[in-house]
């Protein structure tokens, strides 16, 4: 008897609570559906959509993770219906008390699969009270036919000046929200982990530049899953499609700071040149065409056939290399150049200018060629060699077949755009942009059709749609790859701190370094 009362006393209210909750939810769902259906028949009468991140009009890959978002209108309940055009298409319905709307992964995947090559719409209805609601115009997305490479490798750091503590290279699975560390400098002697690069969107060949006062400056090279350390630091690196050599820049970099203006930091290459590392002979070489005394060369990139190396080159503009910044650093602008190479005979041609800086009146940097070899994506900024610190930096596309270039207005913003890469099928580009706030770099993705037309970009989605709003890290150097990095983070870190390395003499050396003042000192000596 007593037991029964206990069961009734505890179970009863519990059951009642569950029933009330389910009933309340169903009631709201029905109400929202009715509102939504009514508005579907009165299309165009809704309010402008206010969601964050804004995905409206974007073309998305068929294998992208759910585009979670946050409604920017305050309300009691939020109803979302995501569906394709056809009536029999699967639809996703969400009812939430929170404005953060998280789309379940499996139904989202099914929805995308069913709508490849078509449009999907996101209907948002915000219930202000049990009788009042706000319905927003539907958000329209197009699902592309071509998938994006599933992995995105980023350098994740706070906005750095001279000193660093935590630097991480992170790999994101774009099909889901899974993320893993490729290498963290916490395990690698707190070294500064620089740019990473891959061969043709594959992880079988990878390099990672390391700068450190304690474990030395070097390059970690991953070949077929084996990591080894090369005893010289590669700057910006480009793998030859054959995987037999890697072209890289050697830069005498200096950072300095502005007293006035929006961006405090600036960077200048007092000197730079290009070299290449031959994996077969484990030696580094250069050639006069890659390292001219009267020019600064940087940012190498190969054509997919491996016959041309594109790079940026500027006339050596300053006489006094001991002054930082040099007197006319704002006049330093880089041309887009190229040089031929024969992998069989190992012969280099003569460098030639492909697109002079004077034609755009800007410094042309970071060339990256589409896998079909037709387009060259680059960024152009007012001056210098470091576009991420230049709010004027925008993305441009050069058609290598016609030689015509154009500014990619759809991708650009009043803030810096840079560090772009192509997907392996050439239909997607990932790039860094500071458009959100002018300070923190985020990775955006954009669809590029066969004619080279770019489409509305969208930020890489996160599980928590509000995460970018308070995220104090920047996501730079996005690289799209087809398979995950095959080496464990512990192994990569061990390789960095291990004194064993392949001794390589740098074929490029510069004059004695200019003296930096204290703030720059740590940056250049690689001391954290």
């Amino acid at each position: 008897m007593r037991k029964r009362w206990i069961v009734l006393g505890v179970g009863g209210p519990l059951l009642l609570g569950v029933l009330l909750w389910v009933g309340d939810r169903q009631l709201w769902l029905a109400r929202c559906r009715a509102w939504s259906n009514y508005h579907a028949q009165h299309a165009g009468e809704g309010l402008p959509t206010r969601i964050n991140p804004d995905y409206d009009g974007a073309v998305i890959p068929p294998n992208i993770a759910p585009l979670n978002f946050r409604a920017l209108t305050a309300g009691r309940r939020y109803y979302v219906r995501i569906a394709g055009r056809g009536r029999r298409q699967p639809a996703i319905e969400l009812l939430s008390r929170s404005p953060s709307l998280r789309i379940p992964e499996r139904p989202w995947r099914r929805l995308l699969e069913a709508n490849v090559g078509r449009d999907i719409t996101i209907d948002l209805c915000v219930a202000l009270s049990s009788r009042r609601h706000e319905r927003h115009n539907p958000i329209c997305l197009s699902v592309a036919r071509e998938p994006i490479d599933p992995y995105l490798v980023n350098r994740v750091i706070p906005p750095l000046y001279n000193y660093w503590e935590h630097i991480e290279v992170r790999q994101r699975d774009l099909r889901s929200f899974r993320e893993r560390t490729v290498v963290h400098n916490r395990a690698a002697g707190n070294a500064c982990l620089n740019c990473h690069s891959f061969r043709e969107n594959r992880a079988d060949r990878m390099t990672l530049g390391v700068r450190s006062g304690t474990v030395g400056s070097s390059t970690v090279m991953v070949c077929d899953g084996v990591a080894e350390k090369v005893g010289t630091k590669f700057g910006y690196t480009a793998w030859h499609p054959s995987g037999l050599l890697a072209a890289y820049s050697v830069n005498e970099v200096r950072q300095f700071f502005h007293w006035a203006g929006q961006e405090v930091r600036d960077v200048v290459d007092l000197d730079s040149g290009l070299a290449y590392y031959d994996l077969r002979g484990q030696r580094a070489w250069t050639t006069p065409g890659l390292n001219r005394d009267d020019r600064l060369e940087t940012y190498p990139t190969w054509t997919p056939d491996g016959q041309w190396l594109y790079f940026c080159s500027a006339p050596f503009p300053w006489r006094n290399r001991h002054r930082i910044p040099p007197e006319n650093y704002r006049q330093c602008r880089y041309d887009l150049c190229r040089i031929s190479y024969d992998v069989e005979t190992k012969r280099w041609g003569e460098p030639e200018v492909v697109l002079p800086a004077a034609e755009l009146g800007k410094s042309l940097l970071l060339p990256r060629i589409s896998p079909d070899g037709r387009f060259l994506l680059f960024c152009a900024c007012d001056y210098g060699c470091f576009p991420i610190y230049q709010p004027s930096s925008d993305l441009y596309l050069l058609d290598l077949r016609t030689g015509r270039w154009r500014r990619l207005d759809v991708l650009n913003s009043p803030r810096s755009e840079s560090w772009h890469c192509w997907s392996s099928n050439g239909r997607w580009v990932a790039f860094s942009s500071k458009r959100q706030d002018g300070l923190f770099t985020r990775t955006y993705l954009s669809y590029v059709d066969a004619s080279g037309k770019t489409h509305q970009p969208f930020v890489v989605p996160q599980k928590d749609p509000a995460s970018y709003d308070s995220c104090l890290k920047t996501y730079t150097v996005p690289e799209l790859i087809l398979e995950p990095v095959p080496v464990r983070p512990q192994r990569l870190a061990q390789t960095i701190i291990d004194p064993t390395q392949t001794q390589v003499d740098s074929p490029i050396s510069f004059e004695p370094k200019a003296q930096a003042s204290a703030p720059e000192a740590a940056w250049q000596t690689g001391r954290r």
């Binding site: 000046y161 000193y163 502005h258 706030d437 002018g438 923190f440 204290a518 720059e520 001391r527």
Partner: protein, 631 residues
């Protein structure tokens, strides 16, 4: 439980209560942990969002930092820190008592040993509770392990490995202490070889396996993170003593038992755990029960309290405390507090940072031109100079050693109008120390001043996840909804008006050039003017000083500050010229003092320091202020 046991427990309770109450009062009124918590960039911080937590899940010991950050939230309130620290020290005492009971229950007064060592650590500016939380985690895990029923070796090894691995993940190298104590207990008390071997081997194996196969951490850090051997933890010696105390206690008690058993010629029985889990000391003969333990306990209590008080007061450095008070008051813009604390500071403790705070306090209270020579001054110390050093390597080293200064520098630069400099310094601090709320607060302000509200919002939204700073951030965000750049905020408006407009590049130690640049951009920048004049006085550049005097009127000075009058008199005497002072007069008492000083010229500075030590005459003559002269 009989009456004797009850009385013993009551006494123990009273003893612990008295000790902890005194400790709490001591922490509140002497140590005041809050002052070296909020002004210190190393302090662990807490944000309630998942993204922040995730950063600490990727390496062993990360969680203890996160927990310490949560605990340290209490430091924000005057009683919060003392209460939390007292509670943690109390738990350490309790866990030590459990260990002593497991060792046979003799000399339970030794349970206070770690507490006394921790008091020394707290006196020595244990600026964050990470090591304490790690130690506590190890001791509580040990208490859990000791509370296990005897069971088979296999079961005990299983439990040990599970608890040990978890503890290593949570508390880093504090696991080593746990493993060592568990191993010693197995060896000396339970006399089990296999669990001992496993415990000792695990000290090597668990951190190694974790660092090699599981976590993103350096191998050396796997063994030392949050231990006294971790270079980021301080002060090392009291903490090291505290960590070493436990194994020494276990070995010492075992030895004591062994010697006692030898003396009584009783067969040396292994100390096995009783069924009641805690082996209690055997009761004394009935005749001595009523008095001896009571007296012994009272004497023990008195001895503990005396040792604790002597240790606490003997290791407390009031001057270091004052330096921290200066920092803390400067952070809170309590300028009178800065001057009050600095006034009692001996020269040995008077650092360039203290001097920067003092000069800023003098400026903010309108007394820089009147009283700066009442405090120690040198030309290099008007503000902290980070640019000293010859080669880049030397400069880099200096910067690294003084990295903490990044945290402290921004406020002055911001008030001077060097907004980009302040942003730079705050970002350096962010990169080196992580997202300390004070840094985020400054970065939010900087971005508002630079009219970058989107960037400011990122910092403010990050602050929303910190329970202490959330109200401040929420208020700013609410106001930004109406006025995105907070242009109506007086502080922001003031700095915007002073903001440097022209891009220059002047090193920090050339303050006079910086200030002149600021004055060129904005002649109404009174702070730049006063620092320029102070710099001229300190560098004895009286010609430069006199050249800028005409700015006084436009800046609204009603009368000449005292040191300016003194400098004018010196200048006129030295150059035999008369400076056009306009309507500004030299006060009769300044004239009289100058005459007196001139008469006494040539005498030893020690003799003149009391009368003229706070004047510019004295500084001009001897190159030091009166407070710098040893007496």
């Amino acid at each position: 439980m009989n009456a004797i046991d009850r009385r013993a427990n009551l006494l123990t309770l009273v003893r612990h209560g008295a000790f902890l109450t005194l400790l709490c009062l001591y922490l509140r009124y002497w140590v005041t942990p809050a002052i070296h918590f909020e002004a210190h960039p190393h302090s662990p911080v807490f944000y309630s969002n998942v993204a922040y937590l995730k950063e600490f899940l990727s390496y062993p010991g990360g969680l203890v930092y996160y927990l310490a950050g949560f605990v340290a939230l209490a430091y924000h309130w005057p009683w919060g820190g003392p209460l939390v620290l007292t509670a943690m020290v109390g738990l350490v005492c309790w866990a030590t008592d459990v260990l002593i009971l497991a060792m046979g229950g003799k000399l339970r007064e030794l349970a206070f040993g770690p507490a006394i060592l921790l008091v020394v650590a707290l006196n020595g500016l244990m600026d964050h509770p990470i090591a304490l939380v790690a130690l506590l985690a190890a001791l509580l895990s040990l208490a859990l392990y000791l509370a296990l029923p005897a069971g088979s070796d296999g079961a005990r090894i299983g439990v040990f490995l599970a608890v040990g691995a978890l503890l290593h993940y949570v508390a880093g190298s504090a696991f080593l202490l746990f493993a060592l104590l568990a191993g010693l207990h197995e060896l000396l008390v339970r006399r089990r070889r296999l669990p001992t071997l496993v415990a000792l081997l695990s000290m090597e194996a668990i951190p190694y396996l974790g660092a090699t196969y599981l976590f993103s951490t350096a191998l050396v850090d796997a063994y030392r993170r949050w231990s006294p051997w971790d270079p980021t933890i301080g002060p090392r010696y009291p903490l090291a003593a505290c960590f070493l105390y436990f194994p020494l206690l276990v070995v010492g008690l075992s030895l004591w038992q062994w010697i006692a058993s030898r003396r009584s010629r009783a067969p040396a029985e292994p100390l096995r755990r009783s069924k009641s889990r805690r082996a209690r000391p055997k009761a004394a003969p009935a005749t001595s029960r009523a008095t001896a333990p009571h007296v012994r306990s009272l004497a023990g209590t008195a001895a503990i309290l005396i040792v604790a008080v002597v240790t606490a007061l003997g290791t407390f450095d009031a001057n270091v405390h004052r330096v921290l008070t200066v920092d803390d008051c400067a952070r809170r813009s309590d300028w009178e507090g800065v001057l009050r604390a600095a006034r009692r500071l001996p020269m040995l403790y008077y650092t360039d940072l203290v001097n920067q705070h003092v000069n800023q306090a003098l400026y903010e209270t309108g007394r820089l031109g009147d009283e700066m020579f009442a405090y120690p001054q040198t030309p290099l110390w008007l503000i902290v100079d980070l640019d000293l050093g010859a080669s880049p390597e030397e400069q880099g080293l200096k910067m690294q050693h003084r990295a903490d200064l990044w945290f402290q520098l921004g406020d002055l630069d911001l008030r001077l109008g060097l907004v980009n400099e302040a942003e730079h310094e705050a970002h350096e601090a962010l990169a080196m120390h992580g997202p300390h709320p004070e840094i985020l607060k400054r970065l939010a302000l900087v971005n508002l001043i630079k009219q970058q509200p989107d960037a400011a919002r990122v910092f403010l939204k990050a602050l929303l996840a910190n329970p202490v700073y959330a109200p401040w951030a929420a208020d700013r965000l609410q106001r930004m909804a109406r006025d995105p750049s907070l242009s109506s905020d007086p502080y922001i408006r003031r700095v915007q008006a002073l903001q440097c407009r022209r891009d220059r590049r002047l090193p920090r130690h050339e303050l006079h050039l910086r200030c002149r640049g600021l004055l060129t951009d904005n002649p109404r920048n009174r702070m730049a003017f006063e620092y320029f004049m102070a710099s001229c006085l300190l560098r004895k550049d009286l010609a430069g000083f006199v050249r800028e005097l005409p700015r006084l009127e436009a800046l609204g000075y009603r009368e000449l500050p005292r040191h300016y009058q003194e400098a004018l008199l010196v200048y006129e005497r030295e150059t035999r010229t008369i400076v056009d002072r306009g309507d500004y007069a030299i006060a009769p008492e300044v004239l009289q003092r100058f005459a007196d000083f001139s008469q006494a010229a040539g005498r030893d500075p020690t003799a003149l320091a009391d009368r003229f030590g706070d004047s510019y005459f004295f500084y001009r003559a001897f190159g030091v202020t009166g407070s710098m002269v040893p007496r």
